[in-house]
Symmetry: C2
Subunit: 441 residues, 2 copies
C-alpha cells in the first residue's frame, strides 16, 4: 500500500512544510493547535492504556489513569514536549464536561426504585462504608501531616468514602452476578454512598469556602448546606420525574432530528447549573438528572429514531470522546517525583490500607441471612470517579494561601484509587467464584 517512494515523497513534503517555520500560523480566534494535539495524545493514550488494562483483565479506567500518569511524567525521562498540557484551559474544560456526562450516565443506569428496594441492608452498608473511611482517613492524614489544616484531613477522609459504581458494576456484570443478593446490596449501597459522599463534599466544601472568607463557621451553616443538598435531591426525585416527563412530552411536538438527545443534554446541563447555583457540585445535578430521567418519558421521541436508540446509547459516543479526557488529565496531574519526598510513600501505603480495611466495616451492615459478608466488603473497595473528583475539587480550593489538597496528597489519592481499582477485580472474583450461583441467573 505505502510504497517506499511514497514514504520518501511524504518525508520530503513534510520537510518543505516544516522548514519555513510558522510564518503563516493561524492568528484568528483562539489558537486551537495545542488543544488539538492534546486531544490526540489523550485519545490515543486512553485507548492504549485501556486496551492494556483489558488485556490483563483490569477495568479500562485503570488504563486511562496509568496512561495519564505516563504522559504527565515524561519530564522525568528528560522530555518536556508535553509539559504544558496538564494546565491547558481547554482540556480542563472538556474534562469537566466529560465528568458531567459520566455522572449523568451513572444516574441513568441507577433507578430510584432500585435504590429503595434493596432497602435497609444497602443503606446500612453504605452508611458504615462512608463513616469508617472518613474517620480512618482523617486520622491517617492527621498522623502524617500534623501541620496541615484539619479541613485537609476531612477532605482526605472524604476522598475515601464513595465506592465506584462503574467499576463495581463492571466486575459483577463480567462475572454474571449483577442480580445475586450480594450484587444487589453492593450496587444499591454504592449508589447510596455516592449520594452520601456528594453530601459530605457539599458540607466540607461549604465549610472551606466560608473559612477561606474568614467567616466564623457555625452549625447553622452546616445545617443550611445539608438542607440545601437534601432538599435538592428530594425535590429532584419528587418533582424531577414529572418535570422530565413534561419536558419530553412537549419536546415530542418539535420537528427535526436529534430532539431527544438535545433535550436530554439540556435537562442534564440545567440540573447541573441549578445544583451549582445552590452551592452543590454540578455533578450532583447531572447525577440527579440521570436518576429521574426515565425511558417512559421519551417513548414518543425514541420511536422517531430509526434505530430506536435510548438516551444511554445516544450519549455513549459523547462520553467515549469526553470521559477519558477527565481520567487521563487526572493521571497527568499525578506528580511521580513527589514520591521521592520523605513520608509520601508511607502516607500512600497507609491510605491504601485504610481504603481497603475501612470498607470492611460494610460487612457489619448486611442484615439479610445467607449473604456473604466478605464478598460485600470486598465489592465496596474500589474508589474511582468520585474520589478523583473530590481530590480534583480539593486541589482547586484554598484556605488562605494553602491548597486544601496539595500536589503530594493529590498524587497519593490517585495512587490509592489506582490501587483499589487494581486489587478489587481479582479479590472479588476469587470470593464470588466460591459462592453458589444464584437461582435467578
Amino acid at each position: 500500500m505505502m510504497t517506499r517512494a511514497r514514504l520518501v515523497a511524504l518525508a520530503a513534503l513534510l520537510a518543505v512544510f516544516l522548514l519555513p517555520g510558522r510564518a503563516f500560523a493561524a492568528s484568528g480566534g483562539p489558537d486551537l493547535a495545542p488543544l488539538l494535539l492534546a486531544l490526540v495524545v489523550v485519545l490515543l493514550g486512553a485507548r492504549l492504556g485501556s486496551a492494556l488494562a483489558e488485556r490483563f483483565g483490569q477495568p479500562p479506567v485503570l488504563g486511562e489513569l496509568l496512561a495519564g500518569i505516563v504522559i504527565g511524567n515524561l519530564g522525568l525521562l528528560g522530555w518536556h514536549g508535553l509539559a504544558g498540557m496538564r494546565d491547558l484551559a481547554g482540556l480542563e474544560l472538556l474534562a469537566q464536561i466529560g465528568v458531567l456526562f459520566l455522572l449523568f450516565e451513572v444516574g441513568l443506569a441507577s433507578e430510584v426504585g432500585q435504590m429503595l428496594a434493596v432497602g435497609r441492608s444497602a443503606l446500612l452498608v453504605a452508611t458504615l462504608g462512608v463513616i469508617a473511611p472518613i474517620g480512618l482517613g482523617f486520622l491517617v492524614s492527621r498522623g502524617f501531616f500534623p501541620g496541615h489544616h484539619p479541613l485537609t484531613h476531612w477532605f482526605v477522609g472524604a476522598t475515601l468514602c464513595a465506592t465506584s459504581v462503574g467499576i463495581t458494576a463492571r466486575v459483577l456484570a463480567d462475572l454474571g452476578r449483577t442480580k445475586s443478593r450480594e450484587g444487589r446490596i453492593i450496587l444499591g449501597a454504592a449508589v447510596i454512598d455516592d449520594v452520601q459522599g456528594l453530601l459530605v463534599l457539599a458540607v466540607i466544601k461549604g465549610i472551606i469556602d466560608s473559612v477561606d472568607r474568614g467567616q466564623v463557621f457555625n452549625a447553622g451553616s452546616v445545617l443550611l448546606i445539608v438542607a440545601k443538598a437534601v432538599a435538592f435531591l428530594v425535590v429532584a426525585v419528587a418533582l424531577g420525574r414529572s418535570i422530565s416527563s413534561r419536558v419530553f412530552r412537549l419536546g415530542a411536538r418539535l420537528r427535526g432530528e436529534g430532539v431527544l438527545l438535545s433535550l436530554a443534554l439540556a435537562f442534564c446541563f440545567s440540573s447541573a447549573w441549578l445544583a451549582g447555583l445552590l452551592g452543590l457540585a454540578p455533578i450532583v445535578g447531572a447525577f440527579a438528572a440521570g436518576l429521574v430521567l426515565d425511558e417512559v418519558h421519551y417513548r414518543d421521541l425514541r420511536a422517531r429514531d430509526r434505530a430506536q436508540r435510548d438516551v444511554q446509547t445516544l450519549l455513549k459516543p459523547i462520553s467515549t470522546f469526553l470521559v477519558p479526557v477527565f481520567f487521563v488529565l487526572m493521571g497527568m496531574r499525578v506528580d511521580l517525583s513527589v514520591f521521592g519526598q520523605a513520608g509520601i510513600v508511607g502516607f500512600t501505603a497507609a491510605l491504601i490500607v485504610v481504603a481497603i480495611v475501612s470498607k470492611q466495616a460494610c460487612s457489619l451492615g448486611v442484615l439479610d441471612k445467607g449473604t456473604d459478608r466478605l464478598a460485600v466488603g470486598l465489592g465496596m473497595i474500589p474508589r474511582g470517579e468520585v474520589g478523583l473528583i473530590f481530590a480534583g475539587i480539593g486541589s482547586g480550593l484554598m484556605i488562605g494561601a494553602e491548597r486544601v489538597v496539595d500536589p503530594m496528597i493529590f498524587s497519593a489519592v490517585v495512587a490509592m484509587v489506582a490501587a483499589t481499582t487494581l486489587l478489587t477485580p481479582p479479590l472479588l472474583a476469587w470470593r464470588l467464584k466460591r459462592l453458589p450461583v444464584p437461582a435467578d441467573e
Copy 2:
C-alpha cells in the same frame, strides 16, 4: 402528575434556596455555571429554531441562525440577562470543535472517486462559481466602503464563494434528485468549490497575516501558501488513505469498547492539527481526514460493534451536541442594531443580489448536453457553513488596529447566508419539479 401542592412546594423550596444568595457558590476550578446556562440556552434555542424552520420547509441551519440572532439581540428589547454569552471563552471553544466535526462529517460524506468522476463540468462549474462571486463581492464591498483596506473587500468576496454542501445535498435528497445529472454536477461542484474556497481563505489569510506584521507581500509568499495548501490536500489524498487504512488495521488489535470512534477522532484532530501547523485553517484538515477515511479501512473494528455502526453514525450524537453551538453563536454575533446605520441595509441587499446573480455564472460551466443549466445555477446559490466560518475568521483578523471583518460587515454576511439559505429550497424545488425524473431513480 404535578399537583398544585407540589408546585407550591417547589416554588417555596426555590425561594428558600435563592434567598440566601450564593454564600456557598462553587469556588474550585473554573466556574462552569455560565457555560452550563449558555449550553442550555443554545441547545433549546437551536431546537426551537430548527423545528420552526422545518415546519416552514426550511433547512434546520436557518432556524439555528435565527435562534442565535434572537438570543443575541434580546438587549434591543431591554433585557440584557444573556448579554455576556456571546463572548464566553468556553462556548467559543465548543463552537470551534463543533465546526471541526461538521467539516469532518462533510468530508466523510464526500468521496475522492465521486469528486473525480463528475469530471470537467463540476470543475468548471465550481471554478466559475468561485471567481464570479469573489470578483463581484470585491466590487460591491469597495463600492460601499471605499475607506476600508482592499483586503477587507477580498475577504467579503471570499465569504461569497463556497456553496453549502449540506444545504444543497439536503434539498436534492428531499426531492429524490441526488443522482440526477444536475444533482451530481451540483454536488461535485459544491465539494470542489469548498476546497477552492479553503485555498482562497488560506491565501487571503496568509496575505493579511503578513501585511499585519508589516512585511512586504510578494508573489513568492502567495505561491508558498498555495503550494502548502495544494500539497497538503494532495498528500492527504495520496497518502491519507493508506495511513488511515494502517491506523485502523493496527487499531483493530486494541481491545476495548469505542476504539473505532476514538481512532476516528484522533485521526481527525491530528489532521486538523497538521493543517494548522502548515498555516491552513484546522477545518481543512478535518475535511481532508473525512475525505480519505473510508469504511473499508475499519471493517474489522466496525464488526466488533453490536449495532455495526459506521463512523458517521457514531459521530452524529457528538455533532448534534456541538455543531449547533457554532451556528447559534454565529447568529448571536449578528448585531441587529447595525442595520440602523446608514448604508448597511443597502450593502446587505447588494450582497444578497450579488450572491444570487454571481452563482448563475456556474451555468456556463455545464458541458453535458441535456442538462438544465438554470437548475445547476440555482442549486449553487446557498452559502452556509463555509461562508460563516470565513466571516468568523475574518472578524478575528486585524490589519493594524482595524478588524478585517467588522461587526457591520459580519452582520451583513450572516444576513446574506440566511437569505440564500432561505431562497434556495423554494427556487430549486420549483425548477426541478419541471424537469423529468431521471431514469435511474
